[in-house]
Symmetry: C2
Subunit: 155 residues, 2 copies
């Protein structure tokens, strides 16, 4: 199973990661549509991250989302238009930056979405062996933290 025996892409961990993530993305998208959630999964992810990191600036948020500054800004435009976040000019290291925070409406929306999707994902992960899910989750986290050291992010 180690890479030294790798002969085909489908035998690699890259394949498993890519395909599993793709499946999960499709599943999540279908769920958001079915539950008629007003924002996209990406916007939900950004909103949740802002709620945890109050006062973060756009570039730092982009680093957390692993998206470039351009698209991070566009997602924030959408969330701001919907009234779920507020943005304000501030300074960071003597530089002007756009910081942000979640609004009351944003918090309500976030809670509402969490409540909605929790029920469905619980249903799905119950069908899947729970201890397997936890194993994958923990192993993935360690792996991701190691990966971050090897990827050159220029955001």
């Amino acid at each position: 199973m180690t890479d030294s025996k790798l002969q085909h892409y489908t035998d690699s961990i890259h394949y498993e990661l890519e395909q599993t993530a793709r499946l999960m993305r499709i599943l999540t998208l279908q769920l958001f549509e079915k539950l008629e959630i007003s924002i996209s999964p990406d916007e939900y992810f950004a909103l949740d991250t802002v709620s945890i990191n109050a006062g973060i600036c756009q570039r730092d948020l982009a680093k957390l989302l692993l998206k470039d500054r351009a698209n991070t800004g566009r997602i924030l435009n959408s969330l701001e238009e919907k009234g779920f976040i507020t943005r304000f000019i501030d300074t960071k290291n003597n530089r002007l930056v756009k910081k942000m925070g979640i609004t009351e409406a944003g918090l309500r929306e976030l809670g509402s979405i969490n409540k909605k999707i929790k029920r469905y994902f619980d249903g799905i992960t119950k069908k899947i062996s729970t201890e397997e899910v936890d194993r994958v989750h923990e192993a993935l986290k360690k792996f991701r933290l190691d990966l971050e050291k090897n990827v050159n992010m220029n955001i």
Copy 2:
């Protein structure tokens, strides 16, 4: 760690999957550019899959790639233009389909790419704990196979 304790998206397995896969994708893209590989990672994945499933038709390939028929066709157009695959009309269940196979040039290219990237990925996964990689890999595979049962793919 189970979903019942989920409070934030960043605590979920969805987040870990999405972000880890995103990092891996960026890493792979950077590697393909650095090694001046003539096809994209997606084309490489398709080429490898065709090499394993000789005579597969486009729709069945799309199901393996988890891409829609339109984009699968476009990727195959590119691979065909480069001379790495050949396509031919055949029948499957009495229906006309476009089947395909890898060419000699395609096999050479595939082997060349495998050789090139193997060295680099071995280097990276050596920095990361190897047994961790294998653990993630195995756990992911089981998880993906379970996930497939729960996602409604209409390809």
